[in-house]
């Protein structure tokens, strides 16, 4: 019954990512794409919130978007890096998706 939450906005610029975390349930998956990937880096003001979410949710980041922004290899521990094929798998393996635009 899990939901895949797709986030594409920087948590430093918009409230969408916070809102996603506030509404995601235990067992859900969260995927960062586009500008949202900046949220995956450790040591930021946002990192603590993401770590708290990882207690009962799985968190993914799109590697191509991370690399584009010069952040390759900088995703914090516990965040799984996926490619577009992995993105597709996540949408198939979770029963529904929600994009936090």
């Amino acid at each position: 019954m899990a939901m895949l939450h797709i986030v594409n906005k920087s948590p430093f610029e918009r409230v969408a990512f916070d809102s996603c975390l506030a509404h995601a349930q235990a067992g859900d998956a969260i995927l960062m794409i586009e500008d949202a990937v900046v949220g995956a880096v450790d040591g930021s003001r946002f990192a603590g919130k993401l770590k708290a979410a990882m207690a009962d949710k799985t968190v993914y980041v799109l590697g191509s978007d991370l690399a584009a922004r010069g952040l390759e290899g900088k995703a914090m521990e516990g965040v799984a890096v996926v490619d577009y094929a992995g993105f597709v798998d996540l949408t198939a393996n979770n029963e529904r998706t929600q994009s936090w635009l």
Binding site: S19, Q25, W100
Partner: protein, 134 residues
């Protein structure tokens, strides 16, 4: 035709962008397809249903009366985030009174707005099949 649970998530203020208006057009169409439709008003989405909207000065059409018509299309589950209202200094009294006539209860007029906190909103979302956001 299959009936699915459709959720429309409204997170943006009206008029500053077109999403609220054009989202409403999809909501009405989905009713015509006899789907089980719910709306969520979260974050700035709560401004879409404030009462007393007067858009004359900005030269745009006031489309808020359309929300009042939703009840006639059997769309009567409008979930509003209490935390979003509070953060904005708003209460339910700042919102339009949105109602529907319950065909199963002698057409009694009932409120369409359902105030929910984050946990309840999340639980409602978990029961959906198709989640649309704009």
């Amino acid at each position: 035709m299959t009936t699915k649970n459709f959720l429309f998530v409204n997170r943006k203020a009206p008029y500053g962008t077109v999403y609220a208006l054009e989202s409403l057009e999809v909501v009405l169409i989905s009713a015509a397809f006899e789907q089980n439709v719910s709306l969520a008003f979260i974050d700035d989405g709560v401004y879409q249903i404030t009462k007393g909207q007067n858009s004359k000065g900005i030269g745009m059409k006031n489309f808020s009366p359309t929300y009042r018509a939703l009840g006639d299309y059997d769309i009567n589950k409008l979930y509003v985030s209490t935390e979003s209202l509070e953060e904005r200094g708003l209460t339910v009294d700042d919102l339009m009174e949105l109602t529907y006539e319950d065909a199963d209860d002698d057409y009694a007029e009932k409120p369409s707005i359902i105030l929910v906190n984050r946990e309840e909103m999340a639980a409602m979302m978990a029961g959906q099949d198709v989640v649309l956001s704009f």
